[in-house]
Symmetry: C2
Subunit: 359 residues, 2 copies
């Protein structure tokens, strides 16, 4: 499974973070047991206290499935892993809380200029989220949620000293502090008596968000409510389509957005960085490098059939497959995928608007 | 009117604050025009932009009447001036917003240990507030208000740099920061389109709260909403009954609480610091010092008839009246006042509970 090794590009950094903060690698046995592409393909790379949630899954006991996406632009394929993981736990029988963090997007990002813009972005994002199979009742926008959630944000604020906060994040503005407080509340509030009560919870985050996880643990212990410490899964970020880039809405050439048109998709995949050789002849002779190829990464993160992805990458490695062929394959797959997805998202717009503006 | 000069005890400090921060003394002409004991007796000592509100009062145009009390204990007579002032502007035809700041009490005060306690204090405080004639629809608790208010708190957080915040308050914890953000929202939110829209507003504060007023002004300018800069009145604090004390719930011997029993009242007024001489004979000869007498201060802040208060203080000054007589007069008045007030407060408990726990 070397093709799916997420440790390849940033091996040293990740190992350091894992050791320093007590994260654990996601065990092979669990990958097999859970039988889902995100685990099989090492997109889930680590965990904190996942045992508790796994036991709930095995014993069909309730647990909280809590995911948030910061809403500060259009959603792209990089968000899909988080949504797919949410759907996985939903299908395991979880109590579901999908948060579109529009207040966080507004308070922590300069490009979101006002609350109206934040809320319209939330409508857009939610329509896509619902299109993946999440129900209206399972999703919320931070700007239009229950009063109990807001009072909880303020309760949390009392439990964090400024020294602890600054030791974790450095010197940050009040907007970013608010964003952090909202995140802690997102992760913990479903365990309040007014929601589900005490039970294990699972939230996927990227490695660089681990400071939030550590403070959330600390807060959960200090609050006078009886709370289970939340569990976390650590997700490998999908990188951008161009060399050395992140897939992020601030880098539109490098991201495939869920509302991209077929022509956008065609241009972006065609221009993507691959592991191809200088000439076709050389590639046939030496083989390609699928492990650094962005088109292969797209397939690894999104193509449903694991064996087919392995086959494509192996053919590339052996030199029997050229980049153009893989690009055409990807364009065909994602054109169909986006078309179907966008139709569903269109149907969910009213529902998304109710979440953001309704009572 | 020397008997009512609030500048007496802290003259230098107040003058310095007024000059440094651009506050203005409350003009004599307005005191006469407004014809209310809080103005007549110099309990309102200064203002920021009160002209705008006064013009609304004169021309019967709408303005916002916004007052908050931090809910961290039982209410005492020191709170009554603020409530009386609110009733004054209410009777001038204002749009009324009375905030019981239970979240602020919780996040900023160690003695409020959890949200339940904060909410029960809010019920207690609100029952007293309503007993003074404020309607259920005119009052709110921070912990159970409209969603739009909470999203506004977070909008405000983006508009304050940490440097500006720390320059004003020094190094404070996240709980106190939250409390401050809630205060700014309390003062400004009623001007949002979802509430009254842009109009002048008046909020009474103590001199030591002026930093809040200055940041609120700054925030009002930075937000992308069209807001009138809020106006403020500066209120002289009633001092405690014992020498050198504040009237505060953390100093119960020095405060008369709105739910004190007649026997508590009797003990507290009897033990109050007066401006009496060492012996009755000496007092008859030299006269008392009503300007430093806590019993006279009680009457000055609460006895409805200004001429009667002046008469008592003048008799004291001339030596024709002894402290015991003034104490008996005060005990009689406040016993009756508290009894009637407590009956009304009892009748308002259900209504207060609806504000704190209802939808």
């Amino acid at each position: 499974m070397k093709a799916f090794d997420p440790w390849s590009s940033k091996q040293i950094d990740n190992k350091k973070v894992f050791k320093e903060f007590g994260l654990k690698k996601f065990p092979e046995a669990w990958r097999k047991e859970l039988n889902h592409y995100l685990f099989e393909r090492n997109i889930v790379i680590g965990h904190r206290d996942f045992e508790k949630v796994l036991n709930c899954v095995r014993e069909k006991r309730p647990f909280i499935n809590m995911t948030g996406i910061a809403s500060s632009g259009r959603l792209h394929l990089g968000h899909k892993a988080i949504i797919d993981l949410f759907m996985f736990f939903k299908n395991c029988g979880a109590r579901n809380y999908f948060c579109v963090a529009d207040l966080e997007g507004y308070t922590s990002r300069a490009q979101v200029e006002n609350l109206e813009q934040a809320k319209e972005l939330a409508v857009n994002n939610l329509a896509h989220v619902l299109a993946f199979g999440i129900e209206e009742s399972e999703a919320y926008a931070q700007s239009n949620y229950k009063i109990r959630y807001y009072s909880f944000v303020f309760e949390i604020s009392k439990k964090i000293t400024k020294n602890a906060f600054e030791a974790t994040y450095g010197h940050v503005d009040l907007g970013k502090m608010s964003a952090a407080l909202l995140q802690y509340a997102d992760i913990l509030h479903a365990q309040l008596p007014e929601f589900e009560g005490k039970m294990p919870s699972i939230t996927p985050i990227a490695l660089d968000q681990d400071p939030h996880a550590r403070i959330t643990h600390d807060v959960a212990k200090r609050l006078h409510y009886d709370l289970e410490l939340p569990s976390f899964l650590y997700i490998s970020h999908q990188s951008g389509l161009l060399q050395g880039t992140k897939m992020s809405s601030s880098n539109p050439e490098s991201a495939i957005f869920l509302d991209d048109m077929p022509e956008d998709l065609h241009v972006k995949v065609s221009n993507a960085f691959t592991g191809g050789r200088e000439t076709a002849a050389l590639q046939r002779k030496l083989g390609g490098k699928p492990d650094i190829c962005k088109v292969c990464e797209l397939l690894r993160f999104h193509y449903p059939d694991t064996r087919e992805v392995e086959r494509i990458m192996n053919e590339c490695r052996k030199g029997t497959r050229l980049c153009g062929e893989t690009k055409s394959f990807a364009i065909e797959f994602f054109t169909k995928f986006l078309k179907e997805h966008q139709k569903k998202a269109k149907d969910k717009e009213k529902s998304a608007r109710r979440i953001v503006y309704g009572k």
